[in-house]
């Protein structure tokens, strides 16, 4: 089965490696990500004010146009997923707002689209046991720390993604690839998000705690589902190093990059040049590239 796919802005720029690896892996796993035509920015945040319908127009437009093409929409970026899934839920539950937005964007979308994350496709459609069988190069010996961040999980009543405090989907995925999962307490803590713009110190501290905790628990690589998180915990590692002298860098990979390695893709197609901390020495050391 093919899936309608909303990439989002970041996956066309800073996180091309996320996008490309996901598309390539899909083909190997027997499905295609069909990019939504004429997509726009998702709005980047779900509005905190309940009457701020303006901010819901971009995701509503995306949902309405996706419904014209199919019934299931998938995304990779955790932030886009959060905004689109919550907007979809609002369309299902709040008839008044739905009508108002529909009138404004001149659509008639009724909330009858299923919004799923790529990880959910891997778990529910492909199946982790089946995925394990199709792995060509198991990540044996690689100690990987799954970092969820917030956006996949919260608010959990709306996202209904996994257990609110102890999610397991990411762990299941990494185990299917043959990696050794590193349990660490900061795996669902906030990365600092947009604070990295206004108060970079706050974001640096968040990232330092997350990465430090992962490393202390034995992680060799941190795995992310979100370009925002990746910016804070990977691209900002030079800032962390300047502020915390004891800090040692650690590679941060998108989960689809690890999937690519495991599916036997050539490492030159995995976009490692976009990762701030080069994972190649580690992967070479483990015999994975």
């Amino acid at each position: 089965m093919d899936y309608l796919y909303f990439p989002g802005c970041t996956l066309y720029t800073k996180a091309k490696n996320f996008d490309q690896t996901a598309r390539n892996c899909s083909l190997l796993l027997g499905f295609e990500l069909k990019e939504l035509p004429n997509w726009t920015c998702c709005g980047a945040t779900f509005p905190l004010a309940t009457d701020n319908l303006m901010a819901l127009l971009p995701p509503a437009r995306i949902l309405a146009s996706a419904r014209e093409q199919g019934t299931v929409l998938t995304t990779l970026c955790a932030v886009c997923f959060n905004v689109i899934k919550r907007t979809n839920r609002l369309f299902q539950e709040d008839g008044e707002k739905r009508d108002k937005i529909n009138n404004f964007i001149e659509k008639n979308y009724q909330g009858d689209l299923r919004v799923v994350h790529y990880l959910e496709i891997l778990k529910q459609e492909v199946g982790f046991p089946q995925l394990k069988e199709r792995v060509k190069r198991p990540l044996t010996g690689l100690r990987a720390a799954p970092y969820y961040g917030c956006m996949l999980l919260r608010p959990f009543e709306e996202m209904e993604f996994d257990d609110k405090e102890r999610p397991t989907i990411f762990e299941g995925f990494l185990e299917a690839l043959g990696a050794k999962v590193v349990e660490f307490p900061y795996k669902i803590e906030c990365c600092g998000s947009f604070q990295s713009v206004g108060s970079p110190d706050v974001a640096t501290e968040c990232a330092y705690k997350i990465l430090g905790s992962a490393m202390k628990n034995g992680a060799e690589v941190v795995v992310s589902t979100c370009p925002m998180c990746t910016f804070n915990i990977d691209h900002k590692q030079s800032d962390i190093k300047q502020k915390y002298l004891d800090f040692k860098t650690i590679p941060v990979l998108y989960f689809t990059q690890l999937l690519g390695i495991a599916m036997g893709l050539d490492h030159r197609t995995l976009g490692f040049e976009q990762n701030f901390v080069d994972p190649l020495p580690l992967l070479k050391g483990k015999g994975l590239v």
Binding site: D163, E165, R166, P185, E189, S213, K216
Partner: protein, 650 residues
């Protein structure tokens, strides 16, 4: 034709300010069968009642309508007044012209006056057809069933037994004491909990009027107030308590150990053991789930060692039939399960414990002999975090109510900790401090000042294990800063919830519970210890979270209410209930299905449905449901009601 009297009350200006009472009284005086019509400023006052009494005497009245306030206020007053003159009280009716007329039509005197007259005329129609009725007298059983052997149940049982009533006390666990037996010392006087409790439990055990059934549960209830038929299941202890002398040899020799629920998992118990070390009765029970004999028949050591040959692996549950006139439900509480608290680690972090577990730790007979030690490694914790309002006062996710005792016991806990570990630092996260009972605020202030407790006003967002510590992430809302504490141990003041199984029990008793599962009282202020079902009374935390003082007060209140109920030989019941015209009833049974009080029953022999007089509450559901118009309500018959309606629509 009956000679009727109409008495119109002014209720000061409440009625007379709106209704022209004089003209209504005159109008009523012109009605053919009204022999006397008058008005007075306060009919319910002694002179007012005297007017009614004199009129009955002098005019020979045979029926009375008092036009005044709601019948729930003074119906009884006036019925008593007419009764004193030899009139049947059910020939006196109230016409409500205050709540249903003057108060709601204050701006329209003319209309209000017309409506008041109509209400009185309609009530006259009712009185014309009213029958003289006598209250229904029922024999009562003067014994009481008390469910629950905690401090509430024991207090109620002892009060009742001291009053001379026979009591059956059933307790689910093998010993008395409930949660109070787990406590170390109690606030605000810091008395040790156990000695007083054990003294009370022993008094219960020894009392000649109390039949104590431990390890027993209520299986079935039939009947009604004054006459409950009960079935109690006495679970097999597998030890003959008659023979057992409590020597404890079996406990010593038992090879199986498992985490004790009484010690909240901090200590171990044997597969044959007492409920807790000082348990009353001091007799052991074999736990089938853990006993080696029941796993593979591989061990009979207790049977071999017992000098009294009291072990009986073949013992079966026993069913006991009992009768009682009233039932006390004192089923107590449980703490909100930590397994459901994700942000506090789902109960999986060994050094995060709940308040009762900490009480066990503080208890001299507890798993650590009163020493505060980390469960994970047995070290003395140097940084302690106490979190209040865990799962309480959180309507979005957990319980919306306040659990009442946490503020005080957390202060007590922190104070004991500081006493034992003077160089340790306790942190207390709180929302606000509620110390509204006798001596509480003083206790709290003294504790904070003397012990130097650090109170942080704010919630904790997450707790997790990291580096051998328990990291607590929270906020101090007074400084507006995030707080992170690397604690050695965390104590959660988790919410009080009703003990498991209360909903099933309430269903058996036909008592109601609220949406959280607490038993509901008949009226929160006027009938706080009665349940909405007659004959069922409440005590303790099964009704709502409360401290020991309030629990004991409520238990005593319940006991005295029951003593009043049982002090008469016969129970009088209002006769305004349903009755069946046996000639019309076809025996279809619809009324049996519809009756919410189980008061309708099929008489198979006669093929008709009958009314159980003691159970019928006169709600009228069966009357509306009857397809043949075969049942009616006494003194509210169809013909009466239709005539009243005619008065209004004419």
């Amino acid at each position: 034709m009956r000679k009727l009297g109409v008495f119109i009350c002014h209720c000061g200006v409440n009625i007379a300010g709106t209704v022209d009472v004089k003209s209504v009284a005159e109008e009523m005086g012109r009605v053919e069968d009204v022999a006397h019509s008058t008005d007075y400023i306060y009919m319910c006052s002694e002179p007012g009642q005297q007017i009614i009494r004199e009129a009955i005497r002098e005019k020979g009245l045979e029926g009375v309508v008092v036009a005044c306030c709601s019948p729930s206020m003074h119906e009884n007053t006036f019925r008593k007044a007419v009764k004193s003159q030899g009139m049947n009280p059910y020939l006196c009716e109230i016409a409500n012209i205050r709540e249903q007329c003057s108060w709601v039509h204050q701006k329209d005197r003319e209309e209000a006056t017309r409506k008041a007259a109509e209400i009185i005329l309609a009530t006259l129609e009712k009185v014309r057809k009213n029958e003289s009725l006598e209250p229904i007298a029922m024999a009562i059983d003067r014994r009481v069933l008390v469910i629950g052997g905690g401090i509430a149940g024991m207090t109620a049982a002892l009060d009742l037994a001291e009053g001379g009533y026979g009591v059956v006390l059933i307790e689910r666990e093998p010993g008395l004491g409930g949660h109070m037996a787990q406590l170390s010392r109690t606030f605000p006087d810091l008395d040790p909990a156990l000695p007083g409790l054990v003294a009370k439990a022993s008094a219960v055990e020894r009392h000649p009027k109390i039949n104590l059934l431990c390890y027993s549960e209520l299986e079935d209830v039939k009947g009604y107030v004054g006459n409950f038929d009960l079935t109690v299941r006495k679970k097999a202890t597998l030890v003959d308590w008659e023979k057992c002398n409590g020597c404890g040899d079996c406990i010593r020799d038992c090879p199986v150990e498992y985490a004790s629920p009484f010690e909240r998992g901090l200590g171990m118990r044997k597969a044959i053991d007492l409920f807790y070390p000082d348990s009353v009765p001091s007799k052991p029970v074999i736990d089938r789930e853990h006993c080696q004999y029941f796993l593979d028949k591989g061990c009979r050591r207790c049977e071999e060692i017992c000098p009294k040959k009291a072990i009986n692996f073949a013992q079966k549950d026993e069913r006991i039939e009992l009768k009682a006139g009233a039932i006390v439900v004192a089923t107590g509480y449980e703490l909100y399960p930590m397994e459901r608290l994700g942000e506090y680690g789902y109960g999986q972090i060994p050094d995060v414990i709940d308040g009762l577990a900490f009480e066990r730790m503080l208890s001299p007979n507890g798993p650590t002999r009163g020493k505060i030690l980390r469960p994970s490694d047995g070290k003395v914790p140097k940084e302690m975090v106490f979190i209040q309002c865990v799962a309480s006062r959180d309507p979005d996710r957990y319980m919306p109510y306040c659990s009442r005792v946490c503020c005080m016991y957390t202060a007590k806990h922190a104070s004991f900790y500081k006493e034992q570990v003077p160089d340790g630092q306790p942190y207390i996260f709180y929302m606000d401090i509620r110390s509204d009972c006798k001596g509480y605020e003083e206790f709290l202030q003294k504790t904070i000042e003397e012990r130097g407790l650090l109170y942080l006003r704010g919630r904790v967002s997450r707790v997790f294990q990291d580096d051998g510590k328990v990291r607590v992430l929270g906020v101090d809302t007074l400084t507006g800063r995030m707080v992170e504490v690397a604690a050695d141990m965390v104590v959660l003041a988790t919410a009080i919830v009703p003990s498991p199984g209360v909903k099933d029990l309430a269903a058996k008793l036909r008592a109601t519970v609220d949406r959280h599962g607490f038993l509901t009282e008949a009226h929160i202020k006027l009938y706080p210890v009665e349940s909405s079902t007659k004959g069922i009374y409440l005590a303790g935390c099964g009704q709502s979270p409360k401290d020991i003082s309030d629990t004991v007060s409520q238990a005593s209140a319940t006991a005295s209410k029951i003593q009043a109920l049982l002090s008469t030989d016969k129970l009088l019941q209002d006769p305004l209930i349903a009755f069946v015209d046996e000639g019309i009833c076809s025996g279809c049974g619809i009324c049996v299905e519809i009756c919410p009080y189980e008061a309708r029953e099929m008489d198979r022999r006669r093929g008709i449905s009958v009314v159980h007089e003691a159970l019928c509450q006169g709600c009228g559901a069966c009357i509306a449901a009857c397809p043949n118009f075969a049942c009616e309500l006494r003194n509210s018959s169809a013909s009466q009601t239709l005539r009243m309606v005619d008065t209004f629509v004419a």
